[in-house]
């Protein structure tokens, strides 16, 4: 899985220049590591198609998905990326099961619900299926969010500081889950060195305005 971002994004006052390409041999989880405000989250947003580059291009899996020069922009919906944010961003008016089922792209309603149950089980949250997000703890919500992101069979998983809003014990538990559960190419944005050590197969280091290239984590 290659991801190539060679783009400039003027977000407010500063420029994010993300210029890297990763390949599958490096192991599925690539950490984007650096201080807050260095543009890591914006890079994910560009890859996911939630933001358009002001100049330059984005390639996903070898395919051009955004080109500022021609105005080409493949919609988020069509990029098959799964995403987990710092806040779970689940739909508050639906149950956990429904939230995950929404991500399943094919099949009848019953089949979607069935698949959703499987995904919830895989993240250890099957007992939460009928609950609404507001009755769940932060860690539980993130489990559901992960299940949701994976239920769509994404070609690339984007994790934007998924654990930083959680307390230490929960963080550790979820780190284990991520290590076990994640098998698709994954970009993990974090500023936590422990997380990098525990999860990353390789690391891209960020400084404001530029990235520092790929190096293997271990």
């Amino acid at each position: 899985m290659t991801v190539a971002v060679d783009a400039v994004l003027r977000a407010g006052e500063f420029v994010v220049r993300a210029d890297f390409s990763l390949t599958a041999e490096q192991g599925p989880i690539v950490a984007l590591f650096g201080p807050s405000g260095s543009g890591k989250s914006l890079t994910l947003a560009l890859i996911a198609g939630l933001l358009r580059p002001d100049s330059g291009t984005v390639h996903l899996g070898g395919r051009l998905v955004a080109d500022a020069a021609t105005g080409l922009h493949v919609r988020t919906q069509d990029r098959r990326v799964g995403m987990v944010f710092q806040e779970a961003l689940l739909l508050p008016h639906r149950t956990a099961l429904d939230n995950v089922a929404l991500a399943v792209r094919a099949g009848s309603r019953a089949e979607q619900q069935e698949r959703a149950r499987e995904e919830l089980a895989l993240v250890g949250a099957e007992q939460l299926a009928e609950q609404h997000p507001r009755t769940l703890s932060g860690g539980e919500r993130q489990r559901v969010a992960l299940a949701r992101a994976l239920a769509g069979d994404p070609q690339l998983l984007l994790l934007d500081e998924p654990l930083s809003a959680l307390d230490q014990p929960t963080r550790i538990a979820l780190r284990v889950l991520l290590r076990e559960r994640v098998t698709v190419p994954t970009l993990l944005v974090t500023h936590d060195l422990d997380e990098v050590a525990a999860l990353a197969d390789s690391v891209v280091e960020y400084e404001p305005g530029r990235t520092l290239g790929v190096r293997a984590a271990r």
């Binding site: 996911a48 198609g49 939630l50 919609r75 988020t76 919906q77 069509d78 098959r80 990326v81 799964g82 995403m83 944010f85 806040e87 961003l89 689940l90 739909l91 508050p92 008016h93 929404l102 991500a103 792209r105 949701r148 992101a149 769509g152 984007l158």
Partner: protein, 218 residues
């Protein structure tokens, strides 16, 4: 006790609110989300019915829909009777009066919806129309319902535009507000007082019902 004005008012206000809600919510979504040429114009036009005095509004409606206009003539050839000075005319006047209330309140509510939840929904592959119907509008429902309730109250109480477009024809187009005015004109203060009280009670009752409904968290 002549119940015709009350029944007519309820019927007209219900139809008008339904149409104002559909047009208003649709328009609100477009204005909140879209960037398209003519957007400013749409905003201005949608606010006109609030800015214009009701009788001026009624006058313009009469010009556009009256027996001498292309629209009015076309209507008459299809349906056999004029569009104005009929119940249809009353519904149009009430719809136009109620529209800005539905639209502006819905728009404010839609703009309050956390765009990150919508972004997350897009990563799941949900097409824009499903994002609108299954994410945005449910999250905005409190404001949307409040706007519709306001629109209903406005439609129920309209006088100036309705009397211009539909006329004061007892037993045909005489809505409650017009009947109150008519009674005052005729010097029948007792009747005016009774009608006004009934209208006020009905309006308050509907608003209370809607409040209860929306608070119960539908």
């Amino acid at each position: 006790m002549d119940w015709f004005p009350l029944l007519l008012s309820l019927r007209v206000a219900s139809l008008a609110t339904l149409m104002a809600a559909v047009l208003g919510i649709g328009g609100a979504y477009l204005l909140a989300k879209g960037r398209f040429p003519g957007r400013g114009l749409l905003e201005a036009v949608a606010s006109l019915p609030i800015v214009l005095p009701p009788t001026v509004l009624g006058y313009y409606l009469l010009v556009v829909l009256g027996a001498r206009s292309p629209v009015g003539r076309a209507w008459e050839s299809v349906f056999g009777g004029p569009l104005v000075f009929s119940v249809t005319g009353a519904v149009v006047a009430a719809t136009v009066s109620a529209l800005p209330f539905c639209l502006r309140t819905a728009r404010a509510a839609i703009e309050q919806v956390d765009p990150r939840v919508e972004a997350a929904a897009r990563t799941l592959g949900l097409p824009e129309w499903r994002v609108a119907l299954q994410v945005t509008l449910p999250l905005a429902r409190r404001g949307v319902i409040a706007g519709v309730a306001l629109g209903f109250a406005r439609a129920l109480g309209d006088f100036g535009a309705t009397v211009m477009v539909a006329g004061n024809i007892p037993g045909r187009t005489q809505t409650m507000p017009i009947a109150v005015y008519d009674a005052v004109q005729a010097g029948d203060d007792a009747r005016a007082g009774t009608l006004a009280l009934i209208l006020a009670v009905v309006a308050v009752a509907v608003l209370l019902l809607v409040n209860r409904f929306s608070r119960a968290g539908v």
